[in-house]
Symmetry: C2
């Protein structure tokens, strides 16, 4: 009998991170790191499941779950083998749903829902192939990878033929690079010292720890108060010395003029990049900031809604560093498009991570990029934040400031059943107990 | 006692329009016009309610309702008088919710939900003032109107001082214009003849009817098949003659190169504008299309997600015609920003309408624009589509191709209780009967 998809189950998972000020920045003072989590089940004899999720920061996670539920009918009943052989067809069907498309198109809640479902299918496909996703992708033929990309609205910047040529060129030397990857891993930088809610003492301590852990770049949140930022940058630079890179991140706090002024005021501390200086929608604004603050680099991407905005950021020369996110755009397929665009324009990709499971996911994309496309880790680092990894069955492994290459089959997306039971909102063990405590 | 907001009730309302091919275009072959509808109730003695909604085209309307529900806690308990005296505070609180913001920011499902709630508050405020919204806005002082605009991310294109100056200049001659408006109304154009699903015979008949009804512009959907489009444009042009404007609308179907090629292939029929030639996110793409297809004008806006993208469309010289939508962005407050940006750049606003109730809402914004900002109707028309008006308590009134100025207090957003009861999904009278017929 032909195995088919039999269920798409969703879970509203929330962690009470706001109580520790973990993850606090200039725009997000009190996040409760959350996941709209999805499990795709089949009736295949192998018993394998596909797991995926979208990251949110608390309120509204139920809206995200509702959006994933709205996609269920597109997934149920599909043949497992055909689906895993060509996730791009599902990706196009989800993006192309002519009624759901009105709610975007290709942005916000509906698009993140598509990403969660598509990523769950890639998890299943890689598990069925018995490979970690990075290897599953890097082993694929260039023409198949190109077939997985939706080139609609991209061809003025990148054609399928150009994409295939980039992939053919990119795979040269792959064997040597894979040996290096398996030995050393992929470079990381850490944001853990730099949350706005932390004291100077905690910032110093965590910055020292970052050096001890082998990181060569840290990141500080800025943008709430300039005097505070100057003091915190000075503290951090004193701890790390002149040779460690220090990025700063404004989380969209500023207008174009404010971004330029504030970045220049921090220039004496030699920031490596200014991240999210203004609205993620403002391509022309980022271009203006970049012209004004060089040699400080401009980075953005964690809130960039889709490949069309990334295309323009590259066309306009608006960014030095492209920070794709594994779970905001339409899943692996759209991230393939974004990696290809970055390669075409020669802009390094330094992915956004942190939150819930974003490190687990995005490492696979960077490792694929290294093996099969960019062919280098120069000026490339994956963000690392030491939060909530314990909830994952195959959590990331860091050593000497590098992400070690995952060996387990799949996309590293699977959470422990106990974590789902405990943090399911509002009826999981933690939240039910919390409601009792609050007298609700 | 101080009157407060006591309830925010939501309704999932869907009309089975797909069964008649009303509203069919190149990207939306089978829309079921729908509304995520909201009623704001108070304990004030006047018994007035605020009504608002977001328009969708069917599936996913329940996600939109969930998003509105996620905003409820921001609204309940607010003082009615304070809220109606300053809807901008609520607008900023909703956009600024630090957790919900992650689901956008300011785009897609969450942003449309904010628009529905904010518009309901404006409906209530205008009702309490005893004025139709257009008059409520046009009677307001420039500095108060400026206080209602969120200038975050706008100041590189428009400052509060510039906005106030535009409003002060715009109100000159307002008395004479208001007399004209009350006498003649505001010019409209009609899309009713041009849906893709209609036969040539129906197209001809409806185009003739448009002339008889006094319209001086019609619009045809294009983009599915070039030979069909050439034939349909020829049929329409033969009916309407050379002096009536004929716009064409591709509903985002094309890449940049396709948009240029296709528009040029239709140029012999003298299209007035090409609408949505490509992705609404592609500012640079629209600019490239505009450079290539002049003198055909480029129009977009019904899917433009917020003021930041409109800002860039204007900065980049990407559009000749700005088509704001009453219910996609963050409500009246953000549309004030968009009208001010259009005035600053001297680009005419020809709003998107149709769907469910979009004509009812947007007429107020254009009439305000005429009285208090642009001061002209030259090259300005509001879209008109003759669908579903019968469900509204104070439906639009058209005469001689003009929208007549509404006289009832409020935003014209209120639907008949019987319509809500009949088309509530899935348990309203129509849908319950339909499910029985389908044997579900």
């Amino acid at each position: 009998m032909t195995a088919r998809i039999t269920a798409l189950d969703t879970f509203d998972i929330r962690f009470p991170t706001s109580r520790e000020l973990d993850g606090s920045d200039a725009m997000n003072p009190d996040p409760d790191y959350s996941a709209a989590y999805v499990v795709v089940r089949t009736d295949a004899a192998d018993g394998l499941e596909g797991h995926g999720f979208t990251f949110t920061i608390g309120r509204g996670n139920e809206v995200q779950v509702a959006a994933i539920n709205a996609l269920r009918e597109h997934v149920l009943g599909r043949e497992v083998a055909a689906l895993c052989a060509d996730p791009g067809t599902l990706n196009r069907d989800l993006i192309g749903d002519s009624q759901l498309r009105w709610l975007g198109p290709e942005k916000g809640v509906m698009h993140m829902a598509i990403g969660a479902v598509v990523n769950a299918v890639w998890d299943l496909a890689a598990k069925r192939a018995g490979k970690p996703l990075w290897a599953f992708l890097a082993d694929a033929e260039p023409d198949w990878l190109v077939s997985q990309v939706d080139f609609r609205y991209l061809t003025d910047a990148l054609t399928p033929a150009e994409a295939e040529e980039l992939l053919r060129a990119g795979r040269r030397g792959r064997t040597e690079r894979e040996a290096l990857l398996r030995e050393r891993g992929y470079p990381a930088y850490t944001t853990s010292p730099g949350w706005l809610g932390y004291s100077d003492e905690k910032l110093s301590r965590l910055a020292r720890q970052a050096l001890a852990d082998g990181f060569t770049q840290i990141k500080l949140k800025v943008g709430a108060d300039l005097e505070d930022d100057i003091r915190r940058c000075r503290v951090a630079r004193q701890v790390i010395g002149p040779d460690i890179r220090m990025a700063v991140d404004a989380n969209q706090r500023w207008s174009v003029a404010e971004a330029i002024e504030w970045t220049k005021a921090l220039a004496e501390f030699d920031p490596y990049w200014i991240e999210e200086p203004t609205s993620p929608d403002d391509v022309l604004g980022h271009a203006a900031v970049r012209r004004a603050v060089a040699p400080v680099k401009v980075a953005t991407g964690e809130h960039v809604q889709n490949r069309i905005v990334f295309k323009q950021l590259l066309q306009a020369g608006a960014i030095d560093v492209l920070q794709l996110d594994s779970a905001r755009v339409g899943g692996v397929n759209e991230n393939l498009a974004i990696l290809l665009l970055a390669a075409k324009f020669g802009v390094p990709v330094c992915p956004h991570a942190g939150g819930v499971g974003l490190c687990e996911l995005v490492q696979h994309l960077s490792m694929f990029d290294y093996l099969a496309l960019s062919a280098t880790t120069e000026n490339r680092v994956i963000e690392y934040v030491d939060h909530l990894h314990e909830h994952f069955v195959t959590p990331v492994a860091l050593a000497r400031g590098h992400y070690l290459a995952p060996t387990a089959p799949g996309f590293s997306a699977q959470m422990h059943p106990r974590s789902l039971d405990t943090y399911r909102y509002p009826d999981g063990v933690f939240w039910a107990a919390d409601a009792l405590t609050e007298g609700r």
